[in-house]
């Protein structure tokens, strides 16, 4: 018995040692490979740039093609690119930066810009921009480049600007006998509810306006649950005051916006119930063709070309009093690490991906993004692939898209908490009044914490 036990123990020990040794050595061999790559090409590929980003699989493919092109244009540079799943990116980035092993070029989310600048992790590229002859800075969307400016200096260039327009499933509109939405004039919330009701259909084929409509058995929804930004901003409200020091959710306008979203679910039943939303996301329902209106960003295009229905864009419906469409304009930046040994090459890569005309043209033709360059906007709108009314995205960038509120604060804890807590309202456990009364002080406390962090 004992002998067998000893045998087992030593076998386990050996396995354990092998695992440890192989785990340790795999890290080593990676860096050896990199050195080899450096030297094997001799003088030709003397610069290796490490690029760290995140991407969906189809997006990654497109980027790999762009890198090949870049390497062909800059024969001395080799790009060592790593694409992470989006959710892992920031954590990986933090550990890399904390350990002092910065990549040469990497994505930055605008919300993290302040902390990266304050801790000297990304390079001020203003001088490179003014000295380079490659591109014209004036041609980038102002709303794109402003995201990465602080005190007049530029710290990153936009990888893209992401206007979230509202989309409609053309086939479902036509089946219901409805006119297609006007791409230039937003519907009012009242008109919108009316249309969404006509597009919400139960298992017996009744729409949500019919007296026989069964809200517990819906097979097609007028819309997916709303994002809060278009509703709150169109009502003339906001989460924070001008200088982002006060939480301002307890105002009549803000409450009106929450009430509108609440009613879409609980009163009009035109968006999936809490449970239904949880079972299948709006994105899945949109792909299935069982939701008629849905938010759409430019990066969705390529995936949506495969769908068996046609779709178009429209401005987000507007509060009847303001009649102003508002939405969220996302962006992701590409920055140069402050410790890079090859700042010029790293900058060239950033510029190449951000504003090189050919790159931008290729990215927009591949359905990856709206071009970062104003001069390509017309060409983009004329492209003959879906969606219809692509100019709504351009209008959003030019006119009314805004950054998400948490980008104005040092950390997103208050914003996360807003989303977590407002869930109780969407579940129907609280009234709007109760929600804002209870949670305004809670969010204020977290905002104060973020402000305190920024002072340090």
């Amino acid at each position: 018995m004992n002998v067998r036990k000893d045998g087992l123990l030593s076998a386990l020990l050996i396995v354990f040692i092998i695992v440890i040794v192989s785990a340790c050595s795999s890290g080593g061999s990676e860096s050896q490979n990199r050195e080899k790559e450096d030297s094997s090409d001799g003088g030709e590929r003397s610069v290796v740039l490490e690029y760290l980003a995140f991407a969906q699989p189809q997006e990654q493919e497109i980027y790999e093609k762009l890198f090949e092109q870049f390497e062909a244009d800059y024969p001395n540079v080799k790009i060592d690119a790593t694409f992470l799943p989006p959710d892992d990116f920031w954590q990986q980035m933090q550990t890399r930066l904390g350990a002092g092993t910065q990549p040469d070029v990497f994505y930055v989310q605008p919300g993290n810009l302040d902390i990266l600048i304050d801790n000297n992790q990304i390079m001020d590229i203003t001088d490179f921009i003014s000295e380079t002859g490659i591109f014209n800075l004036d041609d980038i969307w102002e709303s794109g480049i402003n995201r990465y400016k602080r005190d007049g200096r530029i710290y990153a260039l936009p990888k893209d600007v992401g206007p979230f327009a509202y989309g409609y499933n053309k086939n479902l509109f036509e089946e219901a006998g409805l006119d297609l939405p006007d791409p230039d004039q937003p519907m009012s919330w009242d008109e919108y509810i009316e249309i969404a009701q006509l597009l919400t259909i139960d298992a017996n084929g009744n729409n949500a306006k019919s007296p026989q409509f069964d809200p517990n058995n819906i097979v097609q929804y007028g819309a997916d649950f709303w994002w809060p930004e278009p509703a709150v901003w169109s009502a003339g409200a906001d989460w924070l005051n001008e200088d982002a020091t006060k939480v301002t959710i307890n105002t009549p306008e803000f409450k009106e916006a929450l009430q509108f979203m609440y009613d879409l679910r609980h009163k009009y039943h035109v968006v999936p119930s809490y449970e239904a939303a949880d079972a299948a996301s709006g994105y899945v329902r949109w792909l299935e063709g069982t939701v008629a209106m849905f938010p759409i960003g430019p990066w969705d295009q390529a995936a949506f070309w495969e769908l068996d229905f046609e779709y178009g864009l429209m401005p987000w419906p507007a509060h009847p009093k303001t009649m102003q469409s508002r939405t969220w304009l996302g962006s992701l930046g590409i920055a140069v690490g402050s410790n890079t040994e090859h700042p010029q090459e790293a900058f060239n890569l950033v510029a190449y991906l951000s504003v090189d005309e050919e790159t931008q043209r290729r990215a927009m033709e591949m359905g990856l993004q709206v071009p970062n360059l104003m001069s390509l906007a017309d060409e983009f709108v004329q492209l003959d692939h879906l969606p219809y009314n692509k100019h709504v995205w351009i209008d959003t960038i030019k006119e009314y898209g805004r950054p998400q509120p948490h980008e104005r604060t040092y950390n997103p804890e208050w914003w996360d908490r807003y989303h977590e807590t407002v869930d109780a309202l969407w579940r129907g456990e609280l009234t709007v009044e109760e929600y804002v009364e209870t949670y305004e002080p809670v969010l204020q406390e977290l905002l104060d914490r973020a402000i305190e962090q920024s002072r340090r």
Partner: protein, 294 residues
């Protein structure tokens, strides 16, 4: 005599030389980071920049933070998984120990979740728990029970995570119990049979007491592992569950450290967790004298 002494002293040194690599590894990779994290826990370090010493501020803030306590309470709730899991695996082990044909297939099935990737397994269970399309709600339906929103209902999310944990842990504890069962001398059962004991008597007075050392081991490791539960929660409820009802203490630490860049604060929370685990383990050992068969 002196020669022997000198020899043994020399041998001692060689012995120390052999364990030196391990000691070095322990100092460099365990003690070093441990002391460093204690220091970090008294600073406002954000991982990128310089750390400013703030004394016990992080600890004091934490004790007043309702989220911290919510996460602690949730974690304590997850400990229910241990008695549930151990009772089931003890019964399974006794059953599997009876030499039923084809038992090795069953053993294999029970052990399979242990060697599967926890991420894959969690995503699988996430689908099983799905409100509309999930297998579990389908089963409930066939018994006429209404669907449960397992992962988005604050009452059900913790039980859901416990069920997954029990299922996943069953393999290990059952195998351990099986090993322990095979060490119980057959003669004890034979003697009991001669005295007229039935199956339940034997289980109650022979099997259970003689399994207590193994139960003790499984309780101690179970408490340590459960206190560090994280992956299931982060995947199934990325926001910590409705009303923060599923967040564990490690989830809280991760959120503070890696989402809000408060590494100092997160280190302080880690120390509190470490100390809590230590205290629980000491209590376990102290209590063991009362119920573990020596």
């Amino acid at each position: 005599m002196r020669l022997v002494n000198a020899l043994s002293r020399k041998e001692k040194w060689i012995g120390y030389l052999f364990i030196l690599p391990l000691c070095l590894q322990f100092i460099v990779f365990m003690i070093g980071p441990l002391i460093y994290s204690l220091y970090i826990s008294m600073t406002d370090w954000n991982i990128f920049g310089n750390a400013r010493f703030v004394g016990l501020e992080n600890y004091l803030n934490m004790l007043q933070n309702e989220r911290f306590w919510a996460a602690m309470k949730n974690t304590a709730f997850y400990l229910w998984g241990i008695p549930i899991g151990l009772s089931i695996s003890m019964v399974l082990a006794v059953w599997m120990n009876r030499g039923i044909p084809g038992i090795s297939i069953f053993r294999f099935m029970i052990y399979l979740p242990v060697v599967s990737s926890i991420v894959a397994v969690t995503i699988l269970w996430q689908w099983m728990y799905n409100y509309e399309f999930g297998l579990i709600n389908h089963l409930l339906h066939s018994f006429g029970i209404k669907s449960i929103n397992w992962l988005r209902d604050s009452t059900w999310v913790k039980p859901a995570i416990i069920i997954l944990g029990v299922w996943r842990g069953l393999g290990v504890s059952t195998i351990f119990y099986l090993a322990a069962l095979q060490n119980i001398p057959e003669s004890l059962y034979e003697a009991a049979s001669l005295e007229g004991a039935n199956f339940l008597h034997k289980f109650r007075y022979i099997t259970m007491p003689l399994l207590t050392p193994m139960t003790f081991f499984l309780v101690v490791t179970g408490v340590i592992n459960t206190m560090q539960i994280f992956v299931e929660i982060q995947i199934m409820t990325p926001d910590g569950g409705p009303g923060y009802s599923s967040a564990s203490i490690v989830f809280y630490i991760w959120q503070e450290g890696f989402r809000y860049n408060a590494l100092g604060y997160a280190s302080a929370a880690s120390w509190i967790l470490g100390i809590t685990i230590f205290i629980l383990t000491v209590i376990n050992f102290k209590m063991s004298k009362r119920w573990v068969h020596q």
